[in-house]
């Protein structure tokens, strides 16, 4: 997750240096995987106007462009063609050093002198756009000679790439990271500005919402937005999105993405004009239903997939005529997309059952920013708060937008935030030390856990913490949060001891002796592949049933080895090619015998909850050696007994 510090600092006062900040985030388990300085190196870039464009004799790829950047005409050789006389573009003058350390110098080519460089947005690291020069007309009111950063209202920024663990759905947002930081630093958390619905007509007079399957959709809110004018986002919001790694599309879509990144709630805007009866409903997909998702792929719904526990359930959003609009929480269809003509929007903000989303997403091999969040669990109470933020952001470019009163809000089954008891001594038993109770309380309250009672404390998880469980497991979850915010490095260490001695088993001792012996006899111990091909093992035992991999990376690596000899001979051949053929190679390792032909097939627990008895391959430990002299292979042998079961080496 990419977070610009300018965004994070809206919600919490940050430590003085970036190094301090990244250290604290690492220590909170929000590991910083990258730090990028953006806007650096743009200090010397200015706004220039194109005054003339001329061909250069003998050059067909570049032209000579005369610009004015406030200090008279400058000739610059330029390869882009996406501009005309009168356009405004960024100019890096001679002496400027662009991001990445590229220094602009005066250059002579084809008999003309180039006094600087006209830049694309990507060359300035302002976006990925490299289609041509960065045309400033339409983006800003260009003023010739003005520093580009001032003109764009851009200040240099630092973007952190933070890796959020799977059990922290609450932290997968700018505000979530800010909450952890505020708690650790003991600083206040500032919530983002939101608006309330307008006191105009009721939403129900315009639109409808319905949950048919409450186990799949725990909450479905549908907000009606009218007087929508679709257009570009304001520059600062577009930039925020760009810095966070997403492409600005339009003010409506951008607001949806900004809210998801900022608060963690995915929302989905529909063009109301293309939703039958302006009604959205969530239900189980029926067998045989088909949906073409936005990525253009036709998907057959409600087909059980491979693997345990997959019943083939898909949750879909349908319109008032029961037509499927999208795969709920994962991806929509094209029919009701926002377009330039959209004036009324139905905004869906929902809570979907995480496991349903996870299974659908896996089965359809379809992951999106939304599904990543829903499958880990989005705060069921966040939906309308997120819409309030969405409208606030949209109003910056579309002030006349109306949010109809009483947004539709249907409820299904939502998880109840668990309450766990934290008894005196629980912390000491788990962490080896009792912590200051006031500090513990401050941590829990900072993370928005409810704390009541005195010994035992009753600790109630906030609705955003869907990872917190009930009972003993929930207590462990709460204790982890306390330890994490307190700081693992502040906890004590103690080396335990016990009366039982450490030891190797008899088999391990034999294994070591065998290994030592063969090495003493001149064998180079090797490590050859466990996976081979039918052709490999047909050489030794044609037609034997083999243990196969269902999803191999290559056909040559699709069978579990029933002998190590093939691998060893191959390893020898490679050495022989290098002129090192006079050698003995050996390996002590496992071979796999199919349960149908195994002398002693292994039976073990399998299936859901381990309730099924499964026959698994017999794993035999063997010693295999190949021997070569004078560049020829002169001997190859493998023990056939199983040393675990008293078999002998031959």
């Amino acid at each position: 997750m990419k977070i610009p510090l300018s965004w994070l600092s809206d919600f919490v006062d940050l430590p003085e240096s970036v190094a301090q900040l990244t250290g604290i985030l690492d220590d909170l388990g929000l590991v910083v995987e990258g730090v990028e300085n953006v806007g650096e190196g743009l200090e010397d870039v200015v706004v220039a106007r194109i005054d003339a464009i001329r061909a250069i004799e003998g050059a067909d790829r570049v032209r000579l462009v005369t610009v004015d950047a406030g200090e008279g005409p400058l000739d610059i050789v330029c390869g882009a063609t996406n501009f005309n006389v009168g356009n405004h573009v960024p100019l890096a003058p001679v002496g400027a050093v662009l991001p990445g350390g590229f220094e602009i110098a005066q250059r002579k080519m084809r008999g003309v002198t180039s006094n600087g460089m006209l830049c694309s947005a990507r060359e300035l690291r302002l976006s990925d756009d490299h289609e041509g020069l960065y045309l400033l007309d339409g983006v800003i009111e260009p003023v010739v000679g003005q520093p580009l950063l001032t003109a764009l209202g851009v200040t240099p920024d630092v973007v952190l790439d933070i890796s959020v663990e799977g059990n922290r759905p609450d932290a997968w947002s700018v505000l979530g990271v800010a909450r952890d930081l505020a708690t650790r630093l003991g600083r206040p958390l500032r919530e983002p500005a939101r608006v309330e619905p307008d006191a105009t007509e009721d939403s129900s007079s315009f639109a409808g919402a319905r949950i048919d399957d409450p186990d799949l959709c725990g909450r479905l809110t549908v907000s009606v937005l009218r007087n929508v004018v679709v257009g570009p986002s304001p520059a600062h919001l577009a930039r925020r999105l760009t810095l966070a790694g997403m492409r600005p599309i339009s003010n409506v879509v951008d607001a949806s993405n900004l809210v998801m990144l900022e608060l963690g709630q995915p929302t989905h805007p529909y063009d109301a004009a293309h939703v039958a009866r302006r009604t959205l409903a969530a239900r189980r997909a029926r067998v045989g239903e088909v949906l073409t998702t936005l990525d253009g792929v036709e998907r057959v719904l409600a087909q059980p997939g491979r693997g345990l526990g997959d019943t083939g359930e898909d949750c879909v959003i349908v319109d008032g005529e029961d037509r499927v609009l999208g795969l709920a929480g994962i991806m929509g269809g094209a029919a009701s997309e926002i377009s330039a003509a959209t004036t009324d929007v139905l905004l869906e903000a929902a809570y979907f059952d995480p496991m349903t989303i996870a299974r659908s997403s896996k089965r359809h091999a379809l992951r999106s920013e939304a599904s990543n969040r829903f499958e880990r669990g989005v705060d069921p109470e966040l939906a309308l708060k997120a819409v309030g933020r969405f409208v606030a952001l949209l109003r910056e470019s579309n002030p006349e937008v109306l949010w109809l009163a009483a947004p539709l809000d249907e409820t299904g089954i939502v998880p109840v935030p668990p309450t766990v008891s934290l008894r005196d001594g629980d912390l000491e038993r788990a962490l080896g030390v009792d912590l200051d109770h006031r500090e513990v309380r401050a941590i829990l309250e900072g993370l928005r856990f409810g704390v009541s009672g005195e010994g035992p404390w009753r600790v109630t998880a906030p609705s955003a913490r869907l990872d917190v469980r009930t009972g003993a497991a929930g207590r462990a979850d709460v204790i982890e949060e306390i330890a994490r915010l307190y700081g693992y490095s502040r906890l004590p260490r103690r080396t335990p001891s016990w009366p039982e001695p450490g030891a190797l088993s008899d088999r391990q001792r034999i294994r070591r002796r065998v290994r030592d012996t063969v090495v003493d006899l001149g064998v180079h111990e090797s490590w050859t592949p466990t996976l081979g091909s039918d052709d490999d093992f047909d050489l030794l035992a044609p037609g034997q049933p083999r243990v196969r991999i269902t999803n191999p990376l290559a056909a040559e690596e699709s069978v579990l080895r029933s002998s190590m000899l093939v691998g060893l001979v191959r390893a020898w051949a490679k050495n022989a090619e290098r002129g090192l053929g006079d050698v003995a190679l050996g390996e002590l390792g496992n071979v796999f015998i199919h349960p149908d032909v195994a002398a002693i097939p292994r039976r073990t627990r399998g299936g859901v909850r381990g309730a099924v008895s499964l026959a698994l391959p017999q794993e035999n430990e063997r010693l295999s050696v190949v021997l070569a002299r004078g560049g020829d292979l002169v001997g190859a042998g493998e023990s056939v007994g199983d040393p675990r079961r008293g078999g002998a080496f031959h």
């Binding site: 996870a358 269902t550 090192l580």
Partner: protein, 359 residues
Amino acid sequence: MHMTTSPLAELSAHATSLLARIDDAATLAELTEQEPFIVGKRSILSTLQKSLGALAPEDRKAAGAQLQEVRRRIEEAFDARRGVLEGLARAQALEADRLDLGDVVVTQVRVPLAAGHPGIVAATQRQLEDVFVAMGFVVADGPEVESDWYNFEALNIPPAHPARGMWDTFYVDLGEPETVVLRTHTSPTQIHLMERAVLDETLPIHSVMPGRCYRRDTPDARHLAAFHQIEGLVVDRGISFADLAGVIETFTHAYFGPDISSRLRPAYFPFTEPSAEFEITCTICRGEGCRTCSQTGWIELGGCGMLDPAVLEAVGIDGDEWSGFAFGFGIDRCAQMRHQIADMRALIDNDVRFLRQFS
């Protein structure tokens, strides 16, 4: 009035001839040799591209699009042909590599031929085992093919849980689909040990479990599709996070030396709570900060944590009486760090010069 011929007039004839050239290449080498003339700078298409400049701007766009479309078709055909020829080359290489054990003549051989050498991973595993045995741990083994129950579900990773995405899994074609796997970590051996200890009433447990694991991933300099892990498990009375941190620190000193220490950082594993990554002082720069440790002075070694109550419940251990911790890390990675091996793939190359270097 006179007609000017568009430079693209014979575009379709050029395209046909280029496609024929692609099909004519019988080997990968031939195709590669032709590459500059078909899709590269010396291709007729590049010449035509340059000639577009002579066109009037209003014609240039349409001509450019037309040319682009042809270029795309040629490139696709080229890539497809390359795919076919690469497949052919691979098949031929495999054929050449095929073994004929009929050639192996068993004769009497005098040993030793020369000095032998232990494998570097096996030697590292032995050193690690020795350190843990001295710390009071019993060494246990477990199977490489496991059921879903041992590899995932008993470790608090239910079927279809998103956390399964943390492991790229090879499935074994036995039983119901995706119910038998090549173990993705050594943790299933923990479950075997705990189930057995409950059955035999032999708690406490203080064990380490080394072994080979698999991930369905293309090997690179830092990862192999098969790798070796060592896992530690302690289940006893009164075990806390402080004991875990202490064991990690004791091990770090014992194995890496007294000037290397450890630290814990919050992390997520489904089978432990609280969970931590454990990092050790960078063995290259000794904590000063270098490229290997991204200037932090620390490098990540493995994961650890207190046994999750859900895991204890799955194996039937009473969490009010017993508690414990687990940890795990890569044996190959230890070998790589200790011997400063740049590319992990050297470990499976079995080059005897490499094997000799580390004895």
